[in-house]
Symmetry: none
DNA sequence: AATGAATGAGTTTTCATTCAT
DNA sequence: CATGAATGAAAACTCATTCAT
């Protein structure tokens, strides 16, 4: 399974070109930034706070990242990239039965939203704070995830596995339900990630009108 | 039908005592604030921008509202209050059949999210920016709306109208789907509010396992 | 004679549109800015220092001027505009004899450099710190002053009043000599402004090869 | 002819004791510094930019120079020293006729201003940014150049070769005219350095009232 | 001879807020 | 009702400089 540390969060203008350095400083900053951005949103977060939580000075932050925006955009991109990768890999491991494929992508989505709650929270609410260039790349990544969902549903309808008059609405409903998980999920709660995934698989199959 | 102007958005400290004034100034400010808060979020919005869009001076804003927080909280409360009221009134007008009641509350929700897109966007993302006192009142209002949904679903399950192993999950999925509407809804799109409501009613009934 | 106070130094973005306000604040800032910019140059001057010398807070400065650059550019433009105006008016008051005209423009120039030493110092050294838009307007103003000199000299040569093989070089030498005055002029020194002007008139006439 | 590399630009605290090293690093830094200081002035120049243009790291700069000020002061001193040396040597090669001597020093000055445009630009505008100790040494060097001019003119007047009521003014005008050359000189222009020198010799002789 | 990582003081600018009028 | 003038705190970011390696 794809994990956060596979992707680079330090490749902005401040330190570009060379191989990704992974000193303690850089990582600590990324971790701190993720948390605080998730808690308070882009504008609610001051880079002073990020540096402080990372145990570094403000200026050290600027050694690793060329601006607040670049730091933020790096986080967002890493997160969405990882999510899309997780979906891709989940779909690669299963056949072409739409039911199985829907199961796989919903499981991957729930899993990601639960295990990477912080980034998911950010990604859900803060896209508008990306400057145009970054925003566009993000939008494309998002669109590709959406397409994965839509293609599966459309194919299921075509094959008669799903009975569904408004497949776009069905897709939106499923994605919205999954994406909302980080807003309420409590790791101490009654359902663990696996159980939760099965519940959302069931909901998704109902939404697309699959007779079980 | 409940409308925004029925509720008070000007009851802060700034203008205490006298009867609620409803001049152009106050309203223009509320409208401007709603728009800009929705566009840029709480911290991304400056009180100067609001005053400018309302065509007033900064000081005029302070005549009508005692602080940025109070202006913001007023907006949020108005919005959620209106929504809860809309749900209440929709439910009051229908019998006690859970299917009918679920239909009614989903219709009311979709209708509200479509017609009051701006506030809905704010309400969905910006609660964390409310100071504790305001946040709590909001949370209570939200909880009461959630309870309306949950009660209907639970009752439907009890009566055998809904077949649903995890009613709380079902409720979350339905609410999440409806609440996401403002993120993508396009007034020029293929489905008008009424048609959209029916689609989401259908989705909701599937989620709760109602045999149609 | 044109004086500084005739021109507006407060018409930037911060407070544009309305009639020029001339509260104490705005003037104090302009005066302070002139002095400190002259002493330390554009980059060597912090707007904190300007505000402090004006007896205002940093934020008050931003009420009057939208940025350091705009404040600086305003000063520069005022100064060069005034100078050009002084030359124009001096030339308007004398006939078309090139000798008289050269006398007039040199007198006006020396006079301006002596009486407005501070701005002259800035104008001489700090144009490169103007952002392109401002720089261009300044360059045009300067060019118009240069043209005044050049036209007079060329006309003198044509009429045989001046004997001068390289009129452009002559013009540059005259202007350079006059413009250097603020660098060494001491108000307590042996020559007052009027006497100084006559000395530079004599030098200028020699440079252009006028037989006296 | 005296060239820049004859003079020491690396004698600060950073590399004390050992013989002056003249590796590529040190030279690249001096060249870069000269250019950028000339373009943007002392305060407008960041030590980072200098290192970058020299293709070195910031820390490498600190190996060669103990501080920004020392690097800057070194440049200035080198430049003025070279200029004074150039004047001295030009005067040593000619007799004691004031006319010849004025010719020689004007030629040397124009030559220097044209060939070392960059340093001349700095020297003309940035003395005020030197800290007192450095400033004083520079002032003395400058004064010695000024004295060379003044002595020649005074002697010419005494001998009746020059007819000149205000010799100090004449000297200032001549120096100002020469010093302004870097501000407008275009190497691609109509007059090469030698031709230009002759033009300024002619101007200087006119200023001091020499009958040709 | 040179570098990467870090810092503290400083920069310009924006913010919510106040108050006399 | 409304404004113009002002403020203090904090924002993002840059700077010259240091130090272990």
């Amino acid at each position: 399974m794809t994990t956060a540390s596979e992707s680079s969060s330090h490749n902005g203008t401040a330190h570009n070109g060379t191989a990704i350095p992974r000193g303690q400083g850089g990582d600590a900053l990324s971790v701190a930034a993720r948390e605080i951005f998730a808690e308070r949103g882009y504008h609610g977060t001051s880079i002073r706070d990020i540096a402080k939580r990372a145990g570094l000075s403000l200026s050290a932050l600027y050694f690793w990242h060329s601006s607040k925006q670049e730091l933020f955009a790096g986080l967002m991109e890493d997160s969405v990239t990882d999510y899309v990768r997780a979906c891709d890999s989940a779909l690669r491991d299963c056949g072409d039965d739409p039911v199985e494929r829907l199961r796989a992508i919903v499981r991957a989505t729930v899993d990601y939203r639960v295990r990477r709650r912080v980034e998911s929270t950010i990604a859900a609410r803060e896209i508008r704070n990306l400057e145009p260039e970054h925003a566009q790349r993000l939008a494309e990544l998002r669109a590709s995830a959406t397409r994965l969902f839509q293609d599966i549903i459309d194919e299921g309808v075509r094959r008669g596995a799903f009975r569904c008059e408004h497949p776009a609405e069905a897709r939106r409903a499923i994605q919205a339900a999954c994406n909302a998980i980080p807003q309420w999920y409590d790791p101490e709660g009654d359902a663990g990630p696996a159980e939760l995934a099965e519940r959302y698989v069931a909901i998704a199959l109902r939404i697309v009108g699959h007779e079980s």
